[in-house]
Symmetry: C2
Subunit: 627 residues, 2 copies
Amino acid sequence: MPEYKVVFLPGHITTTINDRETIFDAAVKTGITIKSSCGGAGTCSRCRVIIKNGAIQLNGTGKLTEQELAEGYVLACQAYPRDEIEVEIPASSMLSEHQVLISQDRELEQPPLKIKPLFWKVPLKLSEPSLDNHVDDISRLYTALNQKERLDFPRMGLDVMQKLPRVIREGDWRVTVSLADMKGCIEIVNIEPGWDYSNFYGVALDIGTTTVVAHLVNLETGESLGIEGTYNKQAIFGDDVISRIIYVVEHEKGLQHLQKTIITTVNELIDVLLKDHHISFDDIWYITCAGNTTMTHLLLGIDPEHIRLEPYVPAFNSIIPIKAIELGIKANAKARVYCLPGTASYVGGDITAGAEVIGIERQNKLTLFIDVGTNGEMVLGNSEWLVACACSAGPAFEGGGIMHGMRAMNGAIERITIEPSSLDVHWETIGNRSPVGICGSGLIDCIAALLECGLIDRTGSFKPPAPHPRVRLEDGEKKFILVFAEQSGTGCEITISEADIKNLLRSKAAVFAGIRAMVKLIGMPIEAIEQVYIAGGFGRYINLPDAIKIGMFPDLPLERYRYIGNSSIMGAKMILLSREARDDAEMLAEKITYLELSVGNDFMEEFVAALFIPHTNLELFPGYLAG
Amino acid sequence: MPEYKVVFLPGHITTTINDRETIFDAAVKTGITIKSSCGGAGTCSRCRVIIKNGAIQLNGTGKLTEQELAEGYVLACQAYPRDEIEVEIPASSMLSEHQVLISQDRELEQPPLKIKPLFWKVPLKLSEPSLDNHVDDISRLYTALNQKERLDFPRMGLDVMQKLPRVIREGDWRVTVSLADMKGCIEIVNIEPGWDYSNFYGVALDIGTTTVVAHLVNLETGESLGIEGTYNKQAIFGDDVISRIIYVVEHEKGLQHLQKTIITTVNELIDVLLKDHHISFDDIWYITCAGNTTMTHLLLGIDPEHIRLEPYVPAFNSIIPIKAIELGIKANAKARVYCLPGTASYVGGDITAGAEVIGIERQNKLTLFIDVGTNGEMVLGNSEWLVACACSAGPAFEGGGIMHGMRAMNGAIERITIEPSSLDVHWETIGNRSPVGICGSGLIDCIAALLECGLIDRTGSFKPPAPHPRVRLEDGEKKFILVFAEQSGTGCEITISEADIKNLLRSKAAVFAGIRAMVKLIGMPIEAIEQVYIAGGFGRYINLPDAIKIGMFPDLPLERYRYIGNSSIMGAKMILLSREARDDAEMLAEKITYLELSVGNDFMEEFVAALFIPHTNLELFPGYLAG
């Protein structure tokens, strides 16, 4: 098979592929993360690159425009080399490594009053042996530990046992014992001579389908040292959990590949955090991880296949802590990884994290928790009962499936207003940068504004347009130009098309239908919901009036709503610092009744009714009726 | 440093050493196990070899006789190469690999009525998932396991979790789960599709200072498949636990070296057993191990240094099961090793094993258990209380420190009578072979006979001899010739010297003084002992009247005595097959009060008084007085 060299510009990164491999495959080989939602299937048209030199064979051109074709763009996943190739990857096709913004609710984010972390160190003074007191070393240790921590015979590995006799004498009967919570039992993972017990850290992880966030925490003081976020590198294998699972099923080493990819993502984040704070890997002793059920399976290398197949059974919801070294996570060789428990295939540990953060199981008020991530999950209930569902919202609110959609990162338009008369567009971007795309909160604003200006009808279709430079029919598709090329950060127009709007409406309809299905199940009117916590990666601020206006959230008084940002990372951190919160979370995850929306309920009916703006039944939105 | 080649005959095994290393070191390097009690210190004179070619420098000649020197014998540990060397190791200097006889009490040896082994397999039928029953795989497994075995959420490793989803579907919801007892909790160590749950085996080990015995057991049926014994290869580093500990302390990698040596010994035994029974390593799932405290430390690679130093504190008495793979024991990668708990530095898991076998903690009668191995340990008590001590008997009863002493193996003289008039000697050997040495039971007979014939007095000294070819003064030492050279299996005389007799008397005095010290402690007369169980490697039969006659055991009615052979291996096997016996043993080991004989009691006084035959206080031996 002939082999060809491929050089990627601007970095001059080089690899070799054969004539049956694509430029996309070449990029995967080098570790360059080109945007892709379909994993190289040729359907998403995101992996646009420019061939600078060399002959290729093209299998298709996807959704590339005439102009793009003229400018030399091809889809990397459709391009096979027939010669040595030089490829330029435009910035817009690179998976950005910019910091993922971590919006958070400072009030909820306070460390618990009493820090009882999942890893801690205990200084002990052991009794000295004499002819009257000749019990063995380990009993001596257990007695001291029991007096101090009320722990009976915690287990220890052979490695700890092997160093025990030396360490206790080296420390002159003063030792520091490192304890790790193993869920249901405590393990002695290390023993050191003397009483130096500072410098031990933990990492809380939020492993989302799209983004991964890591939070570095001092386990002694509870202090937050830093937070870093990045794209989940698995994104090149598909945008959503279903395409990742399909990748696992269809590729021989797919599971190992995806596991390795998420571990690399995590390790890079930890690396950055440690370098920033001059901390060594060896000082990381515990890691908590909140992720959806598929992400948690992939992290642990457990086959997620049956999550996708009816009746949607995960391999596990709750699992005991694993050694970090078994997963390849860079941390102390004895560090443990605790994955927050989930409830079902589509209600995972990230939702448990959020539910724990808002303390839903202690609320007297009827509380709704909604996490709109790549999927949309929600929990409804109070101290007496809890029900949860996942509504397949799709990734639109995180920018997925939207031509110029993006995550809430620097340059993302997060607020939009449109002047009804002039159709002038005013926008605000995250970081006050030139706009490069539009994130969830911007998209919600956008739809509300387009409706208000009369540009679209309640089905989301463009009305017959009055001629205006911002309204255009291109390749048979109607578009509204939000940002002209000369104002944008990419040098290209930022638009919203009818297809984008329909995608977004499907997402909002799924969210609303999910809420209605749960409320119906418990036989209550939607107004009975007394408080709503909203989490997710929309942006720093979600425009709630607009979200209600388009029929995404119920028409409740605004003061009942609270936007709490990334509750997944908050919960992971909370549990890292509190064994009680961990116990709560385990109970919570088990207590939640999962409602499977795909069968035996009115979800589809509700969904179709919610595809309208705001809804077919306007009585549900008295505010809309009122004006 | 100059290096010289050393070739060992008859096998032509070759190695290279430098001029500061000895021929003994060379043998250790090649794995050839030359006899040695002192570990190469030049004091035991057992490592006799013949230099066939090449120049050596000798540091000393030890106890080599004129004749031996004339025949070219040197001590390997005193010989440094100055040239390429060819060495012959005579058969008498090789650590024999002959089978160690495993005397046992068939009645005690019966498997328990109810087999509840430390490893077992359970066939399970899991509920099939449906949209009404969509709990996760692991919960499904736990439910089935709880119904069958009343086990709540046993832990499992990541490896088991990773194969779980595939296995349960491959078995069409029928699986076989492998459970291993981890002391205090049960672990799922494997899961297989379907219901094939035969072919799983365990190995019980008795790790003695001198010998190691392995017993292969079918864990499903409780059937004993075979038993093998051999020398503990650590013997080349010294005869007793103290010299092994010194080796550890004085050599940089001493601990690893000794650990590796015992693991090699164990693996070779397992190898033989498995080959004999056509069983694969992979089918060995659990190993129990009874050993004294030092042997257990060395097996696990835990520093035994403080066992030897006042106040004699071991690193541990009881420890949770270890993975066989962590120790390097050849078995299934998931097999566990359970070491029987000990009570103190000199009362270890082998004694717990014996005490458990005789069920001492359930006895209403005042019971004495004596295990005379390389050390002498004993337990006294009943269902209400238990006390134990170790009496430093020394290795004489196992042939150590006796010129022609040997373990109870083929060719060992185990019974002796001497015709008082003619001084003709009648002997019986194990296996009816030509005699090659004399084992413990033979030595006891021998002393009793020498006394009866009037050849020695009550201090063990030879009386002024009537001239007789069997009585000889050689190198200033008086000897009695038991076997003339032409009748022996080695071609050399088998003798007993005054030094041998004194050694043996010290051993028997230690045993008797230990018994007296314990009885005194509890304020009871020695006759209060209602039953005595004797374990140890004397031979198949111990001549009890003779043992009482020389004052080793108390003068109790013979029917109170029972010789039970190797109770250490019996206990290890019993526990392998019974979780209840294991629980009993853990309680037993903790319940025993250890009496330290080296301090604060009358042991030394008792010891001196017991150096006489049978004792200075003849009132303790009414049978002796009666004739």
